[in-house]
Amino acid sequence: MSEIETTGESRLEAISMDDDVVDAVKKKLGVGFWIAVGWLGLLVATVVLAPLLPFDDPDKLASGPARTGPSMDNWFGTDALGRDVFARTVYGARVSLVVGFIAIAFGMVVGGSLGMIAGYFRGRVDQVISFLFFTLLSFPGLILALLITSTFDRTLRTVSLTLGVLAVAPVGRLARAATLVFAEREFVQAARVIGAKHFRILTRELLPVVLIPMAALALLGMGVAIVAEGGLAFLQLSVEDISWGVIINDGRGIRDLQENPHVALMPIGVMFLTILALNFAGDRVREYFDVRETAF
């Protein structure tokens, strides 16, 4: 291992896969896992179908009297401008989920590739890439996001990619550590012996096995990205559109909390359940494949 590898964080991603993956399959994912997946599925379906469903326009003023609590007409009540908080929460989920998904996808593609290259080739390449990861991790996450969004703009693309950049180093480290382990395995060595090209070994032999621990991290990471987007939105530094952070921020004024706390608390509840589902599902997947890692 290179010397950078031995720093504090990296040890967390030390990874041990069961030698016999078949053993793992016998374990169960459990009911909780399926409840979590069910919630996520329901959320995604609602968000996708929102325009077709009979929800209020989230921007429409006075969908009901301003600042009223939950009722049959307005399930989550109305906000200070009389808008339907349920409709806003559903539309807010759109931004939150899209950002979370793109961010982690970017982290997987870029971080995963870099990490695998580092772990596979080692030496100088590894040192450079590991140092890049180390530097990225030397910024407290939200601070780095702040730096990037303040340098560029606040479009959906920028915010998603910014959070994607945050995901690069943790995903990359995991991919690198996994690659280091698997590159020593017989099936990789065998491929080398028969003269397979590096690219082929990386994509055909290593990628499928490295993807498993990354999938667990992806679920957890998506939760982290959604929270980070919420944090930026809360600071009004995220996308200029409805997102959960925006609704919560709108409802956290002192008078709003007193008169109509549901404006903040309802989206907080939905967000909490979503992050919980992602964390739980990620944790189950991790245990299912017995992947040990804790840092993200």
Partner: protein, 604 residues
């Protein structure tokens, strides 16, 4: 990089705009937005606004409209709460003041510094500044100016020159005597300041701007005759600072944080962005006995709704706000009362008449018709401030009752938009006119205001929002890089103070306070006619004409009368009813700017 000590040019440009209002401004060009917090106020353009609350005229025979306190918000200047029934300071049955204690005041924003000759004063700076500095003149409860630190002001000839005599025997906190030379030092400092000079130079000739008459008298020479000069010295430009300190501060910027004046309180400590503490001046020239408090502590609380809650919880004593949420919280709270003033400012939308597509009156009309004033009133004002029809509250003598602001006439917007888009399809998308709505943020309140306005406009306009930090928002507005903005200003005691927003002089230039860039030579002639006269009827007639003319141009959409609220715990006594040097009762709650000379705390 060590040399970068002066405020930079960007800051200077902004400050310039703020400072331009020093001379003749009544109410600030506040954008109804805020500096950093979530409340709707801070007043950048309030800087240098000179003091007046919207009632009455400027001289003795102007009728006062300050109503007796009643619990009815449709009245413009009222007290709401238990404290209102108590007799105030000038009353015969005045209760005995209690000496001692520290008053905790929430101010909504921090100021660059507290040097009246070098920093720009907004409402927060005034609140702190009036404790430390005395103004040469101030405004009484009838809206007339009266000498404060000055002993007298006398026009010379047609009013092109004014002689100001200061009181004898007064010294600054550092022992420097107050005299004509001190006035000169203040004037010279202000005029050499790259920013504030811009507020002074236009009113004065290139040379012989002043003349020392004797030890205590200075004559100011103006370009144009004015019947109302002292009212310009009731605010920042009238605050007199120690010449010794001014000289030192000119060398070392950081001294702007430790002001030296003649006021009833002396600066003790100041932590920027957190708090400023002043303590009683034992040698106050008006007699230290009338200064009841031991100290005042000013806390920066950008979210005044939060500050209102803190006053309600007894964690603070006083808060100044124009945020409806804060006002309502204060009204709801036990043991808290408010003074609310609807005369000293208007909330409105401005349209840049020289920017495409707002240069076409059809678009301005359509936008006006599609403006949901009622929603603004209901959802933003929440019943704390009534709809406005013009730049004056109906209670005021200047108001033209025939002028009615249009709005909520959605069906009339469509045909205008259609006709415009037929002619200029390049400025339209899907039959809607493309417009850019600029506002300052981030701010929850500003975002809500934009949401409310957009909801009305969106059927006819393709609205693109541009959120800018407040100073850039003001800069962009001043240099004409805007189409539609929300704003707050107007509502002056003296209509002369509105001239700066309306005159042609700078309307064609790059930077102007005539934000909407509408020039009318005839209107200018009227404005200057009222400046030179003290004939109230004629001035009223002129201002009423001007309101009608403004309405016809569709360059402003008036929304509501701003509600300046001073909220205070009932234990805080004598917020209103404080007196000047000769027993004159001061105007109370003038745009929230506070005097705390005679305030006391009686927890009784």
């Amino acid at each position: 990089m060590k040399s970068r000590t002066r405020p930079t040019m960007f800051a200077q440009l902004i400050a310039l705009l703020l400072a331009l209002s020093l001379v003749a401004v009544a109410c600030g060009g506040d954008d109804d937005g805020d500096a950093t917090g979530d409340d709707g106020e801070v007043a950048v353009g309030d800087d240098g606004a000179d003091g007046d609350d919207g009632d009455g005229g400027d001289d003795g025979d102007a009728p006062s409209t300050t109503a007796a306190p009643v619990e009815d918000v449709t009245e413009g200047n009222v007290c709401i709460g238990d404290a209102c029934d108590e007799p105030s300071g000038d009353d015969d049955a005045a209760p005995e003041p209690v000496a001692g204690g520290t008053l905790r005041v929430a101010v909504e924003a921090e100021t660059d510094g507290l040097n009246p000759a070098a920093n720009n004063f907004a409402v927060s700076a005034y609140t702190m500044g009036f404790a430390i500095f005395d103004p040469l003149f101030y405004i009484d409860e009838d809206g007339n100016w009266f000498p404060f630190l000055a002993e007298s002001a006398t026009p010379v000839g047609d009013g092109s020159s004014w002689q100001v005599k200061v009181r004898e025997g007064i010294t600054f906190h550092d022992g420097t005597p107050l005299n004509a030379d001190a006035l000169i030092a203040n004037f010279e400092t202000a005029i050499t300041d790259p920013i504030i000079s811009l507020a002074i130079v236009p009113s004065y000739p290139a040379e012989n701007r002043y003349e020392k008459i004797d030890e205590y008298t200075l004559q100011y020479n103006l370009i144009r005759p004015s019947a109302h000069f002292p009212i310009n010295l009731t605010a920042q430009l009238g605050m007199v600072a120690s010449p010794t300190w001014l000289a030192a501060a000119a060398e070392d910027d950081s001294l702007n944080q430790s002001p030296v004046g003649t006021g009833p309180f002396i600066l003790e400590s100041r932590t920027q962005d957190v708090s400023t503490r002043v303590v009683k001046n034992p040698d106050y020239w008006r007699g230290a006995d009338d200064v009841h408090l031991d100290a005042i502590e000013f806390f920066i609380t950008t979210d005044t709704a939060l500050a209102a809650e803190q006053v309600a919880a007894g964690e603070l004593d006083v808060v100044v706000t124009s945020n409806a949420d804060a006002t309502l919280t204060l009204r709801d709270a036990d043991d808290v009362s408010t003074f609310e003033n609807l005369y000293s400012g208007e909330d409105f939308i401005m349209l840049n008449t020289r920017a495409v597509p707002m240069d076409d009156i059809r678009v301005r009309q359509a936008l006006t018709f599609a403006t949901d004033r009622q929603a603004y009133h209901d959802l933003i004002g929440q019943g704390t401030k009534p709809l406005a029809d013009s730049m004056y509250h109906p209670d005021l003598v200047w108001n033209n009752p025939d002028v009615v602001q249009e709005g909520n006439m959605f069906d009339q917007a469509g045909p205008l938009v259609d006709s415009y888009c037929a002619e200029f399809p390049e400025n339209c998308t899907n039959g809607k006119v493309n417009i850019e709505l600029q506002f300052s943020g981030p701010s929850t309140l500003q975002t809500r205001i934009m949401d409310v306005l957009s909801a009305g406009w969106e059927p006819y306009f393709q609205v693109e929002r541009q959120q800018l930090p407040q100073d850039q928002h003001i800069l962009q507005t001043a240099i004409g890089q805007f189409q539609v903005v929300t704003w707050r200003q107007f509502g002056a005691v003296d209509p002369d103070n509105e001239v700066v927003w309306l005159e042609c002089a700078t309307a064609t230039g790059g930077i102007t306070l005539n934000w909407v860039r509408l020039c009318n030579e005839d209107r200018d002639a009227l404005l200057f006619e009222q400046r030179a006269t003290t004939d109230l009827d004629r001035r009223v007639e002129i201002m009423q004409k001007i309101q009608a003319e403004i309405q016809a141009t569709y360059s402003y959409v008036f929304l509501t009368h701003a509600n300046w609220t001073v909220g205070f715990r009932n234990a805080v006594k004598n917020i209103c009813g404080q007196t000047g040097p000769d027993g004159v009762v001061l105007v109370c709650n003038n745009q929230g700017r506070g005097f705390y000379h005679n305030v006391w705390i009686d927890e009784g």
